[in-house]
Amino acid sequence: MRIKKVIKKEKGFVILFAITISSILLAIAIGVSNIALKEMKFGTLARNTNDAFFAADTGVECALFSDKPPTSVFVLAGGTDIQCLGNTITMSGSFPSWSFIISGLGSEGQSCAIVSVVKTTGLTSTSTTVTSKGYNTGDTYCNSRGGERTEREIETNY
């Protein structure tokens, strides 16, 4: 009877010990993988940021080129088409504000930008504001393809 009592007293100790140790180790593992996941997200974000920024910059460059005299389209009764990326892009709007979308940017043609050009006519001079919103991913209308996407906006005044 006494032997039985002793065994009963220590019953389940090893399993408790093992589960405690495993829980601690698993907590460490989860912590490490959490850090790794965050780092991966950060790395991907760094790429998305640049894709979006370069898309926005290409949009600004395209607008600035189309506004280069003497063939600027951003004038009263100017054309509605601009030549960028080797294509003819049709703009919407007319004097004094226009907007257009360029897509197929980035290394895999996945980025796009929405560009708007606004002319403000003053007494002695005309000022221009070019606003370009670049996205790391988007379709031909620069709509999101679902999921997260990064936007970078560049505004140019002259």
């Binding site: 039985k4 389940g12 399993i15 490490v32 991966m40 395209c62 290394s107």
Partner: protein
């Protein structure tokens, strides 16, 4: 009878403890195994993320360098009366075979010893015949370059500049940084279109 029962009971308990120990050991080993797998994977992913971020900055530098060259060429033409900066800029990239095959790379390390004006427009460009050479890395200064002294070591990154002439007034620049890690080769590419708008 009592003795026999006690003996039987003791035996039963001894067997139970063995199973219990086995279960405990297996749970313990499983968690150690899981920990090892997750740790290895986590460290590998951390290294990949680190390399990816550095590659991103190197690729970004490639785009920005070419962009700065465009600005310098166009803003400071050789002959101010008949500015041919844009044409010269395109010709400079084409001369280094940036527009064909394996692309090209530039070495900006001797930039400060090039006589002014506009040393950046005289940056030496070389075609990548088969593959672009690896960039060297100097540990004490954190510097990346091709000829940065004897203290530098291979960084494992190579940068390729590719140029696509889209029209008379537009070029598309690709900057690809590749690196090998583990058993695979990874790369990071950025691209931008430059226009003759200045």
């Amino acid at each position: 009878m009592q003795k026999l029962f006690e003996k039987f009971n003791k035996k039963k308990h001894a067997g139970f403890t063995l199973i219990e120990t086995l279960v405990a050991v297996s749970i313990f080993s499983l968690s150690i195994l899981a920990l090892l797998v997750v740790l290895t994977q986590g460290i590998a992913n951390n290294n990949y993320a680190k390399k990816k971020i550095i590659a991103g900055y190197l690729a970004q530098e490639g785009i920005e360098y070419i962009r700065n060259m465009r600005d310098t060429f166009v803003l400071y033409p050789d002959n101010a009366d008949t500015p041919t900066g844009w044409v010269d800029f395109k010709a400079y990239l084409v001369a280094a075979s940036c527009d064909i095959g394996a692309g090209c790379y530039y070495n900006a390390d001797t930039l400060f010893s090039i006589a002014p004006p506009k040393p950046i427009a005289k940056t030496p460009f070389y075609p990548c015949v088969v593959s672009c050479p690896n960039i060297m890395y100097k540990d004490d200064s954190g510097e990346y370059g091709y000829s940065i002294g004897s203290l530098s070591a291979d960084s494992g990154y190579s940068r390729k500049i590719e140029v696509r002439i889209i029209g008379e007034n537009e070029v598309e620049i690709f900057s690809t940084v590749s690196w090998a890690q583990g058993s695979g080769t990874y790369s990071m590419t950025f691209s931008e279109d430059l226009f003759n708008w200045i």
